[in-house]
Amino acid sequence: MGSNAAENHPISMKWVMKAKENGATIISVDPRFTRTSAIADFYTALRSGTDIAFLGGMINFILEKNKYFKEYVENYTNASYLVGKKYGFKDGLFAGYDPKTRKYDMAAWAFEKDDKGVPKKDPTLQNPRCVFQLLKKHYSRYTPEKVSRITGTPVEDLLKVYELFSSTGVRDKAGSVLYALGWTHHTYGSQIIRTSAIIQLLLGNIGIAGGGINALRGQPNVQGSTDGALLFHLIPGYLKVPRASQQTLEEYLKVYTPTTAEAQSVNWWSNTPKYTVSLLKSFFGDKATKENGFGYSWLPKADDGQTYSWLDMCDVMYQGKIKGMFVWSQNPAGSHPNTNKTLKALSNLDWLVHANIFNNETASFWHSPGLDPKKIKTEVFLLPAACSVEREGSLTNSGRLVQWRYKAVDPPGDAIPDGEIINRIVLKLKELYQKEGGKCPEPILNLKWDYVDDKGRFDPHKMAKEINGYFLKDLTLKDPAGKDLAFKKGDLVPSFAYLQADGSTSCGNWLFCASYTNAGNMMARRGKEDPTGLGLYPNWAWCWPVNRRVLYNRASCDPSGQPWNPKRPLVKWDGSKWVGDVPDGPWPPMTDTEKGKLPFIMKPDGRAFLYGPGMVDGPFPEHYEPYENPLGKNPMSAQVTNPAIKIFKSDMDKVASADPKYPIVCSTNTITEHWCSGSMTRWQPWLLEAQPELFVEMSPQLAGEIGVKNGDRVKVASIRGEVECVAMVTPRMRPFKVDGKVLHQVALPFAFGWLMPKSDKNYSTNLLTPGVGDANTMCPEYKGFMVNVTKV
């Protein structure tokens, strides 16, 4: 669900097919019948944007029919926790909502704690305020009939999927979920994924071999760029970005270092001070001292509660408040929503710096069809970068596998690796601030910058070692068994367990600690051994954290450390240690009441969250309609759209819900032959020949109604813009019966533009899409908006 792996992650499908050969049942749920659906044992369709309803119905089914994995749920989840009396849910809204700010007071969702601060529990799961009973009550509303009315999926198909998938809620079966942008591209995308997490926890499918919720991420190093935090809300290693209310390092650490009173909880984030101080030592080297808070004051502080995502950035740029912009290997003029607004926003810049291997619609935005270059003031610097095989370094795949790639040849002409472009700009900035002074020069002048080789060029090995981290003085530390280990100044840190909060270690990203050690570059390994027989390949490249291949793997065992499924042991407690995958901690299993620890080490209380009081739009996922929707109402409650989303109000942010002028649901998708906006692949004749132009998929029924034949040229229009394309009339699309009426859905890839192939018309599908984002992540709602289709 939410993924078309066969077309968008084709090689991942190789292993889905292998699982099928080995007896697995493959289910595909998608608004379109895709090539993934074609190999599935069972396929059914749902209307775009109704996944929470679909999955909420599955939660209801699992609880009603007692399909959940009882021991797992009781021991490893917060099912037994009591929720405080302030919690409530009424007609689509949770307690604590303020319609003026469009925000919830999340304190209203807190757990009830005893006088020691431990959440109160009811191990019998009978208390009406325990998570299990609240979950049951919340999803009792998601009956198959109600879900079918929303999703347009026939009741018998729903029951078939629920029955098939919930059959994995037993010891010896694993159920896996593959998702991708089909789930993230909604104003409640994070909550769709949480609904799936709840199901996987109820079925005991997290932390086991072949289980999990697997994000098939869309970019070669998007996992690495998330770990490395090129994001407004994080700094490397999922540490939170400093906010204005945290004026000192102490205040920052106090807010972000969780505590726990739960005896058997590891509470891994209690290490936050070690990781933060080590990161500051990597940023500022010797200039980061205990006295100056390790340079914390030099980091920019974001305002509390404020988001600075692309959608915010674009809106502020549209208002003319941003003067300069760096865009690195990204094509916002093609891949971001509401292209017309994006182009206006870019036109307001004084300068734009763009690094890439090919020209694209962003670097050349001033030449876009319909824009007059003479009227656009923006200076553009287009920098030629090396392609992936012309530079050396590591990248992280969707499974957290960090692999090293080598440089084959020098880049052509004046092109240089991105690392070297950055190196040159940083050195020049340092030179200018040194010479001329300027505002707050410290972070620039004090930035540690010795990542160059003997020819003065960016050296990925030196950078990789800094990311791993160094001992900055001689230290003697205890290993997990209590033995003394002596480390020398300049040694690479072998594991994040040895990072310190006093400035005696550096580490650019604690999760990457152990990736490049005194023993060498772990990311470059090519060992093919597979001792577990589960395909973990522990000596192939390196996986964060500490080469652990499956997160929360101790949850694959019962509380005494024995595998739920003895035929496929991922880890196992042999009486003195764990054997198998690198365990998520050395501690004995939970039945050791003295030293035993709970498996969900990243949660303060050690248990996975069925009830999640940390999400901004509710502790349980709830079905809402897309921001721009066909019905203008929500069959589930009076609350039509997600109450906690941020709404942009510029004159270019128009929406048209339940508008007869735009009666058709539309979603966007990717195709095998092009990558994202096509900015790399459209320059390649082999690929462009295979997929030369924009098309819209529609059902024969819709085509009949609007008088369109396969191959006709049509215009697809939303209230924000329009594109011309070829009609692909196909039974892969089907109409939905939703809330008693027939709704049509169409789909367009977003891989096209105007620069290549050169055209005086812009074929960017994102001319149609709305600039509104998920309440938790600000990821745009590229799926489930409204359009009209007419014959040209």
């Binding site: 991420r217 970019q219 070669p220 190093n221 998007v222 760029s225 770990d227 490395g228 090129l230 994001l231 407004f232 700094i235 030099w298 980091l299 920019p300 974001a302 600075y308 692309w310 950035m313 502020v316 408040k321 941003i322 003067k323 300069g324 865009v327 690195w328 290997s329 990204q330 971001h336 291997i357 030449h367 270059p373 009227k375 553009v380 920098l383 030629p384 970068a385 392609c387 095989v389 050396e392 596998l401 692999q403 790639r405 040849v409 002409g413 004046d414 991105d418 700009i425 020049k428 200018l432 972070p443 990925p460 090519r526 093919k528 395909g535 990558w675 692949t681 320059w683 004749p685 984002g773």
Partner: protein, 194 residues
């Protein structure tokens, strides 16, 4: 056909010298003749480096063959030793050769577009790096926000934004992050949110 060719590469030691002939259990003769027939002699003397695909995040392994005489990439294909793809590639991965210098559309010069101009001009790196740094410094110094409305010290710049990238290496990402934070940028985002 594909398989035969890979076996040829593996056997001839081009791909990896450590692969035992016996494991494949093949007679070299006919395979070699097949290779000769295809006139891929250059492959025999090619330098091979491993890499990872630059599209989706499955992370398929690649073997990049470079002609040692001309110093040019002559072939890119799936790495049969890689446990994820076992030599397979999708349409995009199989076309990676067209992202290399063999593609005449590659950018090979620094290009500059002046205000209100309708064309690109070629420039040198020195000029571009100096001008970019000067502009970044000028905007930063003119718009630096030391304190916010509440009087809290924030040391940030809202007049410069940054986007990208998930298509550069981890080491480059770290370096870029350090640059962005040192400048004081808070409008910071990339493909992970798109």
């Amino acid at each position: 056909m594909d398989v035969t060719r890979r076996q040829f590469l593996a056997i001839s030691g081009v791909v990896g010298a450590g692969i035992a002939l016996s494991r494949l259990g093949l007679d070299l003769g006919p395979v070699k003749a097949y290779a000769d027939a295809l006139k891929i002699d250059k492959m025999k003397s090619a330098k091979n480096t491993t890499s990872v695909c630059s599209y989706c995040s499955v992370g398929c392994g690649l073997i990049v063959s470079t002609d040692t005489k001309e110093g040019k990439i002559i072939n890119i294909e799936g790495d049969p030793e890689h446990p994820t793809n076992e030599g397979s590639l999708c349409a995009k991965g199989a076309a990676l050769f067209q992202t290399t210098a063999a593609n005449p559309h590659r950018l090979t010069k620094v290009l500059y577009r002046a205000p209100h101009s309708d064309k690109w001009e070629e420039k040198s790196w020195d000029w571009a790096v100096t001008e970019i740094a000067k502009r970044a410094k000028a905007i930063r110094d003119a718009n630096f926000i030391e304190k916010n409305d509440k009087g809290q010290v924030v040391n940030r710049v809202e007049a410069i934004a940054h986007l990208g990238s998930s298509n550069i290496d981890n080491e480059e990402i770290w370096a870029l992050n350090a640059m962005v934070r040192a400048l004081g940028i808070v409008y910071l985002d990339h493909q992970a949110r798109i």
